[in-house]
């Protein structure tokens, strides 16, 4: 097997890795946003349920939830595709984390500004759309980057449900070439590069929407 073959095969896996990461991240952001919005706008009776969701989904290992969904659901009559299983496990777990990120960011929006917007005569929804949401999204950026990185790093679990992503390709190549160390090392570097490119892209977006003076001293571990 030539070097080129190895590159091509890893490239094939790359597409699946990106697909899984993208689907789970988008699910995480959308569901996380919906949860944070519901919590913010009212529906007080729903709160215990949302709290329970955040607690449970942050307390279960990704792999365990993935196995429940992919191998467990069929035994109660629900068949899910591998990608959907990833979305329902990794995607919903990251939604639980992101809902907390968004909640924290919403709490950082200045209460005076919200009051001022209400005093102007804006409706609750207008206040949310025009004031709270744009500020909150900027505040949550470090947390979102952390979460996207986490999703990328858990994406190899997709191989356990049969998605031929990078790690799966590496396993095949390692068995075929007996150059496991080199191949896994190259794969490690590949993930690192994806991570850096993703980070770079997000930073470009952040720069585009950056507003002087609107930063939150928030922890980011990158």
């Amino acid at each position: 097997m030539s070097f080129l073959d190895i590159v091509i095969q890893l490239g094939r896996g790359l597409g699946y890795t990106l697909l899984v990461t993208l689907c789970c991240s988008v699910t995480g952001v959308l569901v996380g946003l919906i949860i944070a919005c519901i919590r913010r706008i009212g529906f007080y009776w729903l709160r215990p349920l949302l709290d329970a969701y955040a607690y449970v989904f942050r307390g279960i290992p990704v792999l365990v939830l993935l196995f429940i969904v992919y191998f467990g659901f069929p035994s109660i009559g629900l068949k899910v595709t591998p990608l959907l299983a990833m979305v329902l496990s990794l995607g919903l777990i990251s939604a639980a984390y992101l809902s907390e990120v968004f909640r924290g960011a919403l709490n950082s929006v200045d209460a005076d500004e919200i009051l001022a917007a209400e005093a102007m005569g804006l409706s609750r929804l207008q206040v949310f759309n025009c004031i709270e949401l744009p500020q909150m999204l900027r505040f949550s950026l470090p947390g979102m980057i952390n979460e996207f990185t986490t999703v990328l790093k858990y994406s190899p679990f997709a191989y356990t449900v049969g998605i031929p992503e990078i790690t799966k390709q590496a396993m095949t190549l390692s068995a075929a070439t007996l150059h496991g160390v080199e191949i896994y090392f190259a794969v490690g570097v590949l993930y690192f590069l994806i991570f850096r490119i993703l980070l770079f892209a997000v930073q470009l977006i952040e720069k585009r929407y950056r507003i002087p003076g609107l930063v939150l001293k928030q922890r980011s571990n990158i």
């Binding site: 500004e113 005569g121 804006l122 207008q126 004031i131 507003i211």
Partner: protein
């Protein structure tokens, strides 16, 4: 007919009585000043008048209409009352221009061009047009206040409320704030200002309302009030504020 007519306004937070039967009239073109120490209920009074707080009792008539009921269009009411907050509360993620156009676009439904035109005119009036592209964090306290005023005036309100306009600024700025408010007064803007700043009150008004423990204890000139010896509360206030 007064712009705002307040009768026996009561506001309670649980057991605590904040406003205990306030009476007040604001006529068109007035620059009405309400004085009182912190905790006298000044800010609560302002917030009751545009229903940011729900009054517990009494009557508020705005341009001939009772605005106390549950069926009142609160948002329409708020659109006709400008509010300049103590800390100015500019929207940090919006530029100076966008701060002023927001309500014009979302509430008055003006086009982007119309809103911009109107906003620039108001900023010009407050001498802030050259800062239109800046963000709040890039402005000084006084500049922020002028943007907040332009933001309020842009909606052509029937009255503008000022909540402690000098408290977030350097004491040396008081004169400037007073001059600006007097100029707006000359231009015919109706204003209601609550403050505990004697200097400001003296410079913008010859007759102030003295609020204490939720009731209006006097309405007179600063000079008269400062020599008032019958009311112990007024005496105490002036003794305290004079040092300051």
């Amino acid at each position: 007919m007064p712009v705002i007519e307040v009768r026996d306004l009561v506001k309670k937070f649980g057991e605590q009585i904040i406003l205990n039967g306030v009476n007040l009239d604001i006529y068109e073109g007035d620059l009405k000043v309400v004085m009182g120490s912190s905790g006298s209920g000044k800010s609560t009074l302002l917030r009751c008048l545009n229903r940011l707080e729900e009054p517990s009792g009494g009557r508020i008539v705005f341009r001939g209409e009772n605005i106390m009921g549950a069926d009142v269009d609160v948002r329409a009411l708020r659109q006709s009352i400008g509010f300049v907050f103590q800390q100015f509360a500019l929207y940090r993620h919006l530029s100076v221009l966008e701060n002023v156009t927001l309500a014009l676009r979302k509430l008055k439904k003006l086009s982007a061009a119309e809103a911009k035109h109107k906003a620039l005119a108001e900023l010009e009036r407050l001498n802030m047009a050259s800062h239109a592209g800046k963000y709040p964090s890039q402005l000084s306290g006084g500049q922020k206040q002028r943007v907040a005023i332009a933001r309020a005036l842009a909606m052509d309100p029937a009255v503008v409320f000022f909540d402690e306009p000098t408290s977030a600024l350097d004491p040396l700025m008081t004169r400037e704030v007073a001059d600006m408010m007097n100029r707006l007064h000359d231009e015919g803007v109706t204003m209601l200002c609550v403050t505990h700043d004697l200097k400001l009150a003296g410079q913008i008004s010859d007759k102030v309302v003295f609020l204490d423990k939720g009731i209006v204890r006097a309405e007179a000139s600063i000079a008269t009030l400062s020599q008032n010896h019958d009311d112990e509360r007024i005496r105490a206030f002036f003794a305290r504020e004079a040092d300051y």
